[in-house]
């Protein structure tokens, strides 16, 4: 699959969005809707490479966005959003076209609805994937890394391609089915967040194919879901490069559930991820491993505008080596075993000053470094401790 250079695609897309926004100013208010969000926070994760390398308190916790939805006809709509993100070293910093797609409603009645999406769309398959950059839609400032690994953010957040969504009311409750096919064009900077700055070649996502099913039973406080992902990547090495030409396959099986009560709720996701690497580290190299992780988050409505959060997040890089011992031995003891897992406990507090102005604070206690950069190359220099902590606070406003 050939793509135009990412910079040119992004700048053209932004130009298109600006032109559309200009045109939309001439339209009636019910044909175009505008929304946005602004947030700024502070974060510190000493003794890791998660946010920065000097262990200082960082203001690199900024999420800004503006979006529009333009109703073109009875069954056609155009939607777009531009965001500016700064998460320090967690993902690529800067302005980007978050989504821009045409939504064609192929069928809609009281029993079922079918939509087709064409363009750049968000990942609708996991509990928080569609709005992981929109701070007030998340339970926590930093999402559980077992499922929402920040190094994979840029390739997991959405795709350029084609997607369908079906919702249907049945005697068993509401069923929602999502299907998508597409790819994300990786910039050099995005590649280096995945593969480290030693990577000088070109990384490409050949495709990502996903499907998910959500079920909301009638008169039940539960929602449950399952999703599947299959994606191939290729790497073309540069003339002078640490890595070699190679290929990777990533496959995910995920289950999720959510229980809603009046003053509390539980959300949980479980993931098993297969990572199959061919060549890449060296010609003829082959590794096929299965990681596993899951989290459960509980929120409790302490006071009318205040929610408390308790989150447990567990991740093992290899489900057959949960202690990381074999992994460490395979490197001759060079990489400590704690790079094979990452278990995390989070406590948080959220206060709503107004319906659209919120302050969130949280503290993480972590054991292990398996979900710190880089996924393919442990950073021994900066991830020095098996036990580490992180705190963050973020003020957010939306309209």
């Amino acid at each position: 699959m050939n793509y135009p250079p990412l910079k040119s695609f992004v700048s053209r897309s932004k130009l298109c969005l600006l032109l559309l926004l200009g045109c939309s100013l001439q339209l009636q208010a019910d044909e175009v809707q505008w929304h946005g969000f602004i947030s700024q926070g502070l974060i510190q994760a000493p003794e890791t490479n998660f946010v920065n390398l000097d262990d200082s308190i960082s203001a690199e916790l900024t999420d800004l966005g503006v979006n529009m939805s333009w109703v073109l006809s009875d069954n056609l709509r155009l939607a777009g959003q531009v965001v500016y993100l700064d998460g320090g070293r967690r993902y690529t910093k800067g302005t980007r076209l978050d989504y821009l797609f045409l939504d064609w409603t192929l069928h809609s009645d009281f029993n079922w609805r079918l939509d087709m999406f064409l363009g750049r769309f968000k990942n609708q398959h996991w509990l928080y994937s569609a709005t992981r950059d929109v701070p007030f839609t998340r339970n926590a400032i930093v999402l559980p890394q077992s499922v929402y690994f920040d190094s994979f953010r840029d390739i997991a957040v959405g795709s350029d391609g084609l997607a369908f969504k079906v919702t249907r009311n049945t005697s068993l409750g509401e069923i929602e089915l999502n299907w998508s096919w597409g790819a994300t064009n990786l910039s050099k900077e995005q590649s280096q967040i995945l593969l480290s700055t030693l990577a000088q070649g070109d990384a490409e996502q050949d495709y990502v194919h996903q499907a998910s099913l959500f079920w909301r039973p009638d008169q039940s406080a539960w929602q449950v879901g399952v999703s599947l992902l299959d994606s191939d990547f290729s790497y073309d090495k540069a003339e002078l490069d640490y890595y070699f030409d190679g290929a990777m396959t990533v496959q995910r099986v995920m289950f999720n559930g959510r229980y809603a009560a009046e003053y509390w709720e539980l959300s949980s996701e479980w993931v098993q991820e297969r990572l199959d690497i061919s060549d890449f580290y060296a010609p003829g190299f082959k590794r096929d491993s299965f990681s596993q992780g899951w989290y459960v988050q509980g929120r409790y409505n302490l006071l009318p505008r205040t929610w408390a959060l308790l989150s447990v997040d567990l991740f093992d890089l290899d489900k057959d080596d949960r202690s990381g011992r074999k992994f460490s031995e395979s490197t001759g003891g060079l990489v400590p075993a704690y790079f094979g897992y990452q278990d995390e406990l989070t406590l948080g507090l959220t206060y709503d000053f107004k319906d659209n102005l919120r302050l969130t604070m949280e503290h993480h206690w972590v054991k292990g470094t398996a979900r710190l950069a880089y996924p393919v190359l442990p950073d021994l220099q900066y991830n020095k401790s098996e036990y580490w902590q992180m705190w963050a606070m973020q003020l957010m406003y939306w309209f």
Binding site: S69, S108, F110, Q124, A130, T131, A260
Partner: protein, 137 residues
Amino acid sequence: MKTKLVIAGSVLWASTAFATEVITHPAVPMDQLTVNQLRGIYSMRQQKWPDGTAVRVFVLPAKNQVHQTFAKEKLQMFPYQLDRIWQKITYSGLGSAPVVLSSEQQMREMVASTAGAIGYIENPDELSTLKVIRITQ
């Protein structure tokens, strides 16, 4: 015994005082909706009435008592679940959130004057300009 009667009376009064009814523009071609159909409308998935008129969804602010009673009694959902659905569709491009009105008076006026409109109020009395919709399981 007297105390029990007073408590029972208070509960009855409280439930009557905060009873909400679903209302639509008088030309909407339906007299009743199931809870699932109403959820479909307030989840912004249902776009049209059976006659093809666009559905226009109106709500009161999240902290409004009538909104909270409507969510729990009519939709059988909690207000924070509705907020999450609307935020997800608004900020991932899947659609638009309902129009938030500031008062019940504005709700009466907007639903009465907007083709395809649906909303809710406490104890509707202006039956000539509004249609009350019965909600069934």
